[in-house]
Amino acid sequence: MAAIEKQRNIIEFTLSSLWKRKGKNIALVVVYTLVVFLLASVMFFTHSLKREASLVLQDAPEMIVQRLVAGRQDSIPVSYMESIRDIKGVQSVQPRLWGYYYDAVSGANFTLMVKEELKDQPGIVVIGNGVSRHLASMKDDAIPFKTYKGDYLMLQVKGVLPAASELVNSDLIQVSEEDFKKIFSITTNEATDLVLKIRNVKELATIAGKITQLFPDTRPILREELLRTYDAVFDWRGGMIMVILAGAFFAFIILAWDKATGLSAEEKREIGILKAIGWETSDILLMKFWEGAAVSLSAYLLGVLSAYLHVFIGSAVVFEPALKGWSVLYPQFKLTPFVSAYQLATLFFLTVVPYTVATIVPSWRSATIDPDSVMRT
């Protein structure tokens, strides 16, 4: 009990001591909180985006086969399907038709994709949320599309895709095969790429090898590769933000180091007095530990909480353009809150631990001074 009371008494003194220098300490907590907020925001945001993307891509085909001409993707002949279907382990092969459409009026790029459900419904489109917002088009509105011949094709909006899939479907327009071919110059025996269903995922690499052997001008893309690319893109974007923030972070480290390590003459005098009136070196270090912990824990909790609100309630307004992409059509969606213990622990060790250590180490030197120094000064 005495040990607990001792801790309580020392914490009481520490808080009084912090409050005494409230100007300095509040400024420190504010800057510190801002740094934790920025770091935590980037971390929460990239992790949640990656998680969201991986959830969406779970339904993606196991393998996509593209054709390359002079190193660039080109239309793939539908005749390739027959030979691919015959490869052992391939469950099904479907042709896909999709492409990019630049709308000069709104200045945005849309992704046009043929949807099997619209096969017999020419003149109809289903649009993503971003497209709907950008063109201010709702159900039953008509959207003009400029065809490769230069004339216009009016297509009616049948519906808007659900907001839950907006991360990858924001700029998507689903059309019928007939309308797609009217807009782009694509012949009936060509597809943009082929999607494959594979019985056993362990055979993916073998099947991909067989396809490239059969058709050396093709490039099979596995779902895992797509996921890795998404991860890399978000990691890269997160990394880029981190680089920008690095300057601010180092400025904070210098500030924190200076504030935490540079004991003022007043603080040194106080340590001398405390030792003279019966405090041990360990009591002084304990007091300094609580001081560092109070500042850094407050900043950590405030920073993490505000980052959570910023990312999951405020849709990360600060980093949105950099982290979501540079498209005209920014996806607008609320991320599902995803915060792991690993993320929180990483942040804790990056922020709280270094600061607390930085406050204790210089105090060690002052705490070991002879208690009689206060009598001799």
Partner: protein, 228 residues
């Protein structure tokens, strides 16, 4: 009873600026008496006081508190003895600015692990004893010189010490406050406490509270004798 045997204290030993502060001190301080260590500046009064109060260790020689040899004790035990046995008053009062009077009085008892409520009650009683209870919530820098001095005394008494040590306590006080201080020392002595004061102020040295004067010069005890 505190006994000193052949005490020598050297600062910066072995360096060009080596300084012998105390040399060959043999002294016995009686319990329940008021002793003044007198001498000019640099005579070693404060150094002797800090050795007596377990704030520093001698370079050589031995110090006994009652029958216990304390010179070779580790810092932790020495601090415990210092906290439990001695109450200190400093020349500049050395109160911690920015904190309240009450907090300053409670400070020496914080590491003891006593209940906060009990401590607070005792500190308030001490402040009441010195008519300072109405100043409990005031910050110490707002106190007058006399009030600050009484707060320093209350702080020295919070751990029920048996020995009160004061270093030049009247150096910054006027005649009236100095006399008031000596009255308080008289009351403490009457309660059975041992009073040790380093001073060359005649108000202290000639006070009727004082039982014995130890005269020092150049780190040595020149004379020692009872005044009454």
């Amino acid at each position: 009873m505190i006994t000193l045997h052949d005490i020598r204290k050297v600062f910066n030993g072995g360096k060009p600026n080596e300084f012998v502060a105390l040399d060959g001190i043999n002294l016995a301080i009686d319990s329940h008496k008021a002793t003044v260590i007198k001498g000019p500046s640099g005579s070693g009064k404060t150094t002797l006081l800090s050795l007596l109060g377990c704030m520093a260790r001698p370079t050589s020689g031995r110090i006994f508190l009652k029958d216990r040899e304390i010179t070779s004790l580790p810092e932790r035990f020495l601090t415990e003895i210092r906290r439990e046995t001695f109450g200190f008053m400093f020349q500049q009062f050395n109160l911690i600015r920015g904190m309240t009077t009450l907090e300053n009085v409670m400070l020496p008892a914080y590491p003891s692990g006593e209940k906060h409520g009990v401590l607070r009650k005792r500190a308030m009683e001490l402040l009441g004893l010195f008519n300072l209870d109405h100043k409990a919530a005031s910050r110490v820098e707002w106190l007058s010189g006399g009030e600050a001095q009484r707060v320093a005394i209350a702080r020295a008494l919070i751990n029920h010490p048996s020995v009160i040590i004061a270093d030049e306590p009247t150096a910054h006080l006027d005649t009236k406050l100095s006399a008031e201080f000596m009255d308080i020392m008289g009351q403490l002595k009457a309660q059975g406490k041992t009073v040790l004061i380093a001073s060359h102020d005649p108000i202290v040295c000639e006070s009727e509270v004082i039982d014995r004067i130890v005269d020092m010069r150049d780190g040595k005890v020149v004379s020692t004798g009872s005044v009454r």
